[in-house]
Amino acid sequence: MWKYVLKRVLLMIPTLLGVAVLIFFLMRVVPGDIVELRFAGESAFAQKENLDKERARLGLDQPMWRQFVTWMWGIARFDFGTSMWTGAPIIEEIKLRAALSFQLAVMATIIAVVLAIPLGVVAALKQDTWVDYFVRVFSIAGLATPSFWLGIVFILMLLIVFKWLPPMVYTPFWVDPWQNMLQLIWPALAVGYRYSAVATRMTRSAMLEVLREDYIRTARAKGLWQKLILSRHALKNAMLPVLTVVALEFAFLMGGLVVTEQVFNLNGLGMLFVESVARRDYTLTQALVMLVALVFILVNFTVDLMYAWLDPRIRFR
C-alpha cells in the first residue's frame, strides 16, 4: 500500500511539470499585452517610452526561455512571484479568494450528497414507480438547469418577493456564521442542485446494478435484514462510481464557478481566473492553473485511496 502511495505521489511531479509547460506557452500564444491594457487603453498621453519601461519592469522584454526558467525556478522554491497586474504576492491574491471558493465547494458538495444519495437509493429501490419517476424528473431538471441561471432565479425571487438580497461582501464563517450563511447558502443551493442531479443519476444506476448482484441475492436468501443488506453490502459497493463523480465535481468547483460567482458577486477563484486571463496577467494565470491542476490531482489521489477503503478487493490486490 505504501509503495502504491509513494508511486502516486511521485507521479504528481511530471504531471504538474507538463501542466506548467503547457500553460506557460499557451498564455504567450494568446494575443494581448498587459502593459497596453493597463496603461495605454484610451489614454492619448501614454508614451511608448513609459510602456517599454513597464514591460522591462515586468520582465516581458526578456527572451521567452529566460522567462520560463525564472518562473520554474520560482516554482521549485514554492515562490509563485507577484501578480503582474497588482504587484501583490500571488499567494496573497489566491489566499484571499480560496477560503470562499473552498467553503462554497464544500457546501455545494454537502447539499449534493445529502440530496443525491437518499434520492438515488430510493429511486433504485422503487424502480419504475412514481417515486422513481419523480426522482428522475428532479435529477434531469437539475442536469438541464445551468447553476448560474438558477442563481439568477434565486436573486430575482429574493428581490421581487422578499425585497432582499444576500450580503454583497464575504464574511468568514468564524467571524459571523449567520452573515456567512446568508451570503453563501444561495449559490451553494444553485450549484448543489445541478451537482446533486449528476450524483443522483449515478447513485441510482450504481444501486440498480449492485442490487442485481449474486451476493445481494445470497444475503437476502440468508434472511438478512433489508436495511443491513442495503447499508453494508449494496450502498458501500455502489458508492465507488458516485465517489468519483462527487470528487471530480468538487475539484471543478474550486475554480470553475465563474458565472455563478459573477451573478452573486462572490470574490472567488473563478472570477480571479477570468480576470487574470482577460488582463493577460501571466504570472497569476499560471499560478491559478497550477493550483487547479494540483487540486484535481490531489482529489483523484484521495479518491483512489478511498477506493481501497471501500472495496477490499483493491486493498488486498
Partner: protein
C-alpha cells in the same frame, strides 16, 4: 406665465403666487441642509491595480480612492459641465501677463491623515513625481505636462509652475482628478510607497481594502474644510456584473454606482423603486468613434471615408439607440453643453450631420461613384467585444452603410485584444472610443494628431495641418480664439479629411438612491468623486 417669470411684481396674482411658493419653499429649504452621518455604499464595476493615482488610469481607482485625497484645483462639484475650475488645496492663484508663470497660494492648516501639516514641499514633490518621474517610476500622464519647465516652492504656502509656452488648459490640468497631493517625506523615502499605501489630506481616511471585495473609508475628523464631510464613511463594493449592480441598488445594498447604467437598467430601477430612486443624466465625455485605416484601400481616398459618414442618420439614431444603449447626443469633438462644444447650427454643416438624410446618402453614392466604386464594396467592420454600447452601435452602422451599397461584415474581437489590433493596424474599419477624464480640448483632441505624435492614432495618417491646429488651440489663451481653432480642427478632422468620425456621444445615466444628496453628475465619471459634499437623507 411668461409675465410671472419675467416680472412677478407687475401683478397681484403673481405676488400671491410668489408668496405661496415661498411658503412651500420654506420647509424644502430646511430639508436641503445636509444631514450628518451614515455610510455611503457605492458599487464600483472595476478595481484598481495599484493605489497610485499618478500611475493608474482606471475609474476603479478614482472612485474608491479620491475621497482620501485633495488636488491643487478641482472642477466645481455643482457644475454639470464639469469645466468650471475651483480651488481645492490651492486657495487662490495668479497668472503672469505672458501666461507662462502660474503662482498658487496654498491653504493653511491642511493636515495629512497622519497629522503632518501640508506645505508647498509636498505639492512640489507630488508634481515632480508626475512631471519629472525618476527612471524606475511610471507616470502615465506625464505627456500632458511636457510644457512645464520648472516647479518651484519659494515658501511653505506658495507653489509656482513655470511653463515653456502659455497653455490654455493649464489650470484644468492642475484639476486633474489623478493629481493627488502626496506627502514629500514619504516620497523621499520610497517613491513607490503610494502604489500600496494611502496617505492623503482628503475628507476620508483609509480603513481597509479587501481585494476583489471592497474598500472602506471613514470620516476624517480633522478635515481642513470645517463641517465636511457629512458622511461617517463610505464603502465601495467591487461588482463587475452590471446585473449584480442593478440588483444591489434595487435591494438598497448599494446607494449608487457612479459610472452609469444602461437605459433598460435605469428603467427597471425606476419601475421597481419609484420615488426611492433619483436619476441624473448627462452627455458623457466619451464618444463612439469609427476608426478608418487609411493604409487600406479604398479608405485612403477621402471621398470613400466621407461617404461612410454621410450614410449615417445620426438624428434618427439618437432617438432610437438612446432607448437601448448608452449613446444619445449628436455631437462634435466636444461634449454638448460645454464651453467648446459645437453649436447645433454649425454642427449640421459637417458631413453626415445634416437633417436631410436622403440628400446626404445621394451625396455619399455620388462620392463612391467618383472614387471608382459605384456598386459599393464589401469590407470588415471590427467591433470591440463589449455589449454596451459597441454591439447596438455596430449593428446600426452596418445597416446604415448598406443604405449606400456598402456591405460591411462585423467581426467582434475580445475587448482586451481590440486595442492591440487597432494599434497594430490589423483592421479596415473599426469601432473606437475616446473617453476623457475631463472635458478639455487638449485631452479630447490629442489622440487625433498625426501618427508620429499620437500613439493612439489608429487611422495611421499624417496631417501636419491638423497638428498645427492642435498646437494653436493649445496655446490660444483667449477663449474665443481657442474656440475658432477647435472648430477648424473639428472641420478638418470630421469633414474635410474625414480621418475618423463620431457616431453619437455616449450618454451617462446614474440612477441612485434618493437618499443620496449633494452629488451632481458631470460628463466625466472621473470627476466629482471626493464625496466631501455628499450626504444621506433619512
Amino acid at each position: 406665465m411668461t409675465d410671472i417669470g419675467v416680472a412677478p411684481w407687475r401683478s397681484i396674482p403673481a405676488i400671491l403666487l410668489l408668496l405661496a411658493g415661498l411658503v412651500f419653499i420654506g420647509p424644502a429649504a430646511a430639508q436641503v441642509k445636509p444631514r450628518y452621518g451614515g455610510e455611503l455604499i457605492l458599487a464600483v464595476p472595476s478595481e484598481m491595480p495599484s493605489y497610485d493615482g499618478h500611475r493608474e488610469g482606471t475609474f476603479g481607482m478614482v472612485h474608491p480612492l479620491a475621497p482620501h485625497y485633495n488636488t491643487l484645483l478641482k472642477t466645481d462639484p455643482n457644475d454639470r459641465t464639469g469645466t468650471k475650475i475651483v480651488s481645492d488645496l490651492a486657495e487662490s492663484w495668479t497668472i503672469s501677463s505672458d501666461g507662462r508663470v502660474y503662482t498658487l497660494k496654498l491653504r493653511r492648516g491642511v493636515k495629512f491623515h497622519d497629522g503632518a501639516e501640508l506645505s508647498s514641499r509636498d505639492v512640489k514633490a507630488s508634481y515632480d513625481k508626475i512631471v519629472f518621474p525618476p527612471p524606475n517610476v511610471g507616470s502615465m500622464r506625464k505627456g500632458q505636462y511636457t510644457n512645464i519647465e520648472a516647479i518651484e516652492a519659494p515658501d511653505a504656502s506658495t507653489i509656482v509652475f513655470r511653463l515653456k509656452w502659455p497653455q490654455a488648459s493649464f489650470l484644468a490640468s492642475l484639476a486633474s482628478p489623478y493629481n493627488w497631493i502626496y506627502k514629500a517625506d514619504i516620497l523621499a523615502k520610497d517613491v513607490r510607497w503610494y502604489e500600496k499605501n494611502v496617505m492623503g489630506t482628503g475628507p476620508f481616511t483609509f480603513v481597509e481594502h479587501v481585494k476583489g471585495s471592497h474598500w472602506v473609508g471613514k470620516k476624517n475628523p480633522n478635515y481642513w474644510d470645517k463641517g465636511k464631510p457629512y458622511l461617517d464613511g463610505y464603502r465601495a463594493i467591487f461588482m463587475k456584473d452590471s446585473a449584480a449592480q442593478v440588483a444591489a441598488v434595487r435591494a438598497e445594498r448599494a446607494h449608487i454606482q457612479f459610472r452609469g447604467f444602461a437605459p433598460a437598467e435605469r428603467d427597471s430601477l425606476v419601475a421597481a423603486l419609484g420615488k426611492k430612486i433619483t436619476v441624473q443624466e448627462s452627455p458623457w465625455d466619451c464618444a463612439a468613434w469609427v476608426a478608418i485605416n487609411q493604409e487600406k484601400k479604398p479608405f485612403d481616398d477621402k471621398r470613400v471615408r466621407r461617404a461612410l459618414t454621410l450614410a449615417l442618420d445620426r438624428h434618427q439614431a439618437s432617438r432610437a439607440l438612446s432607448k437601448i444603449a448608452v449613446v444619445k447626443e449628436v455631437a462634435g469633438v466636444q461634449v454638448p453643453g460645454t464651453p467648446y462644444a459645437t453649436p447645433p447650427d454649425e454642427l449640421e454643416k459637417l458631413a453626415g450631420y445634416g437633417r436631410d438624410i436622403k440628400k446626404s446618402r445621394a451625396e455619399a453614392r455620388r462620392l463612391l461613384r467618383e472614387a471608382g466604386v459605384p456598386d459599393g464594396f464589401a469590407f470588415t467592420f471590427t467591433n470591440r467585444g463589449l455589449p454596451m454600447p459597441y454591439e447596438p452601435v455596430g449593428i446600426w452602422l452596418i445597416d446604415q452603410w448598406r443604405q449606400i451599397g456598402l456591405n460591411a461584415t462585423m467581426v467582434t474581437i475580445e475587448a482586451s485584444q481590440h486595442v492591440n489590433e487597432l494599434r497594430a493596424g490589423n483592421f479596415t474599419v473599426s469601432s473606437d472610443a475616446q473617453c476623457g477624464y475631463a472635458v478639455e480640448p487638449d485631452l479630447d483632441l490629442a489622440k487625433f494628431q498625426s501618427k508620429e505624435i499620437s500613439h493612439n492614432n489608429y487611422g495611421r495618417y499624417t496631417d501636419k495641418v491638423l497638428d498645427d491646429l492642435y498646437q494653436k488651440q493649445n496655446r490660444a489663451t483667449d477663449p474665443e480664439e481657442r474656440k475658432r481653432y477647435v472648430r477648424e480642427f473639428e472641420r478638418r478632422l470630421l469633414d474635410e479629411e474625414v480621418h475618423t468620425f463620431i457616431t453619437l456621444q455616449w450618454h451617462r445615466i446614474v440612477p441612485h438612491s434618493a437618499k443620496v444628496r449633494g452629488w451632481t453628475i458631470t460628463p466625466s465619471h472621473y470627476l466629482n468623486q471626493q464625496l466631501d459634499a455628499v450626504w444621506l437623507a433619512e
